[in-house]
């Protein structure tokens, strides 16, 4: 968080002296300077993925709602919706336990975005789907089983 704030203030001070056209060209590049958690994304099992993502201590919660099909015919396109009803939620992380690399993605909500995401993921096999949310610095988790008819990682 500190780094982001520093980056923004840097941007602001820098922007003040820059030509508008140059800023328009540069902004997209700078706004995407966010990190990518290589160790977590490349972890080959759920234990490693969770450990490297820093969410090993997540507390089970019924205030996280996962919408996903009970049976996914096509593992290459599994629709998933996650809503957190825990006040102060600013991140949602998705894991598919049995994927070759189980960490699917992280969504961070800022500046008025509600803690809800709808997306589509790949599932290699019938597996637990795990939604982890961060609220006021603490992690919470909800799981849901999805049966996959045809796996979606080699397709």
């Amino acid at each position: 968080m500190k780094m982001r704030a520093d980056r923004r203030s840097f941007l602001r001070s820098w922007a003040a002296g820059a030509a508008a056209t140059a800023l328009g060209w540069l902004q997209p590049v700078l706004a995407l300077a966010a990190g990518w958690n290589k160790a977590a994304f490349e972890a080959g099992n759920i234990e490693g993925a969770i450990q490297f993502a820093g969410v090993g201590e997540a507390i089970p919660s019924e205030d996280i709602v996962i919408k996903a099909p009970e049976i996914a015919e096509n593992g290459a396109q599994v629709p998933v919706e996650i809503q957190s009803n825990i006040p102060g939620t600013d991140q949602i992380l998705i894991f598919s336990d049995k994927n070759v690399q189980p960490y699917v993605g992280l969504f961070e909500f800022r500046n008025g975005a509600e803690p809800f995401i709808s997306t589509r993921i790949k599932m290699g096999d019938t597996s637990k789907l795990r939604a982890v949310v961060r609220a006021n610095g603490k992690y919470y988790v909800k799981m849901r089983e999805v049966k996959v008819t045809i796996g979606g990682c080699g397709t």
Binding site: A76, F109, G112, S118, K122
Partner: protein, 107 residues
């Protein structure tokens, strides 16, 4: 090469519902090319940022398990008509995509 992004934004009160469909193969590195039998190299979006009126509202980090032609839908409070919604992404090869649109009037 430019990969298209389709965006739909709907305003309800001060809540903007943002939907986007991004053209990208999201290759896992595990898929075999049906003609050559060779594995298709890993190729996937790693970072995506959606901004409203210049402020980031969604910042995502993805692995290769986000489905091909990624779809996202989410909502932001504090939006108003004519605010600019912009999306940008970068993948593991350093390719980038960018698109923007305006929040339409409520209705």
């Amino acid at each position: 090469m430019t990969r298209p992004i389709r965006m739909r934004v709907r305003l309800d009160g001060d809540v903007a519902e943002i939907r986007a469909l991004i053209d990208h193969p999201m290759e896992t590195g595990l898929r075999k090319d049906s003609k050559t039998g060779e594995l298709v190299p890993l190729h996937f979006i790693r970072n995506l940022t959606v901004s409203l009126d210049g402020k980031p509202v969604l910042e995502a980090q993805w692995g290769q398990a986000i489905a091909r032609n990624p779809y996202i839908q989410f909502r932001v409070r504090g939006a108003k008509a004519d605010d600019e919604v912009s999306i940008e992404w970068v993948d593991n090869r350093g390719e980038r995509g960018h698109a923007s649109t305006k929040v339409p009037p409520a209705g």
